[in-house]
Amino acid sequence: METLLDIFLVALGGGAGAVTRYVIERTAAQRISAPFPYGILIANVVGSFLLGVLLGSVTGAWLVLLGVGYCGALTTYSTFAHDTMRLTGGGRMPVAVTNVVVSIVAGLLAVSGGLALGALLSS
């Protein structure tokens, strides 16, 4: 049964996560001149790591606020998928493939590392 508190926590975390992703993406676009979606990659990997830490160490309201809300909004699949299609359609297949492979591999490693750190922190 979804409580109003849960919904509020998801909304709060979600708003913060989306803004964080925007700041990361803007900063990366300004600092890194290469035509590669570094900002989204960084946001997705950082968010995956953070979710791993949370899954390994907290439950309940903290997980709802930070895991479901913040990490869920910090990371994105829609922008990632759209970037991939745009790069592919623009004749930049190597960049598209690199983005996909690096994102997925780094995401998996990040969650795994996060889980280990979370277990360590909560032991």
């Binding site: 979600g14 989306a18 925007y22 990490c71 869920g72 909004a73 699949y77 829609s78 990632f80």
Partner: protein, 135 residues
């Protein structure tokens, strides 16, 4: 038509509001799906496919000049759909699937989500295509 320039602050507010809405929508769908199917990866897959379909539609409409609201892309694209879809849960789902004894299922989930979501973006782009404008 209102020609006031969009401020940085209004963009951030639009993104925050959109992110909150998208995240809550994802949460409600996940709770509903898990309640029915007891399968977290299915919930994540569902929101990601829907979100990718909609981003395809949104970008096609915006680029085709069919959208007048300058905050549409920050609010709907960065905010709602960015908050609605998730990469963190996707990664965590795969790790949990592999850890709980199904690395093959984890791999299928990773590749399957990717394929379906890329297809969804493409389909969305076709659905949202503005007549008379070549994308």
């Amino acid at each position: 038509m209102d020609q006031r320039p969009v401020t940085g602050r209004s963009i951030v507010i639009a993104i925050a509001a959109g992110g909150a809405i998208g995240a809550v929508a994802r949460w409600l769908i996940e709770r509903g799906t898990i309640g029915l199917l007891d399968a977290e990866p299915v919930a994540t897959l569902l929101v990601n496919i829907i979100g990718c379909l909609l981003i395809g539609v949104l970008v096609a409409r915006v680029l085709g000049g069919a959208v007048r609201w300058p905050l549409a892309r920050p609010f709907l694209g960065v905010g709602v759909l960015g908050g609605f879809t998730t990469f963190s849960a996707y990664s965590a789902d795969a790790v949990v699937l592999a850890r709980d004894g199904s690395p093959v299922v984890a791999g299928a989930y990773l590749v399957g989500t990717l394929a379906l979501c890329l297809a969804a973006v493409w389909i969305g782009g076709r659905l949202g295509r503005v007549r008379g404008v070549s994308a």
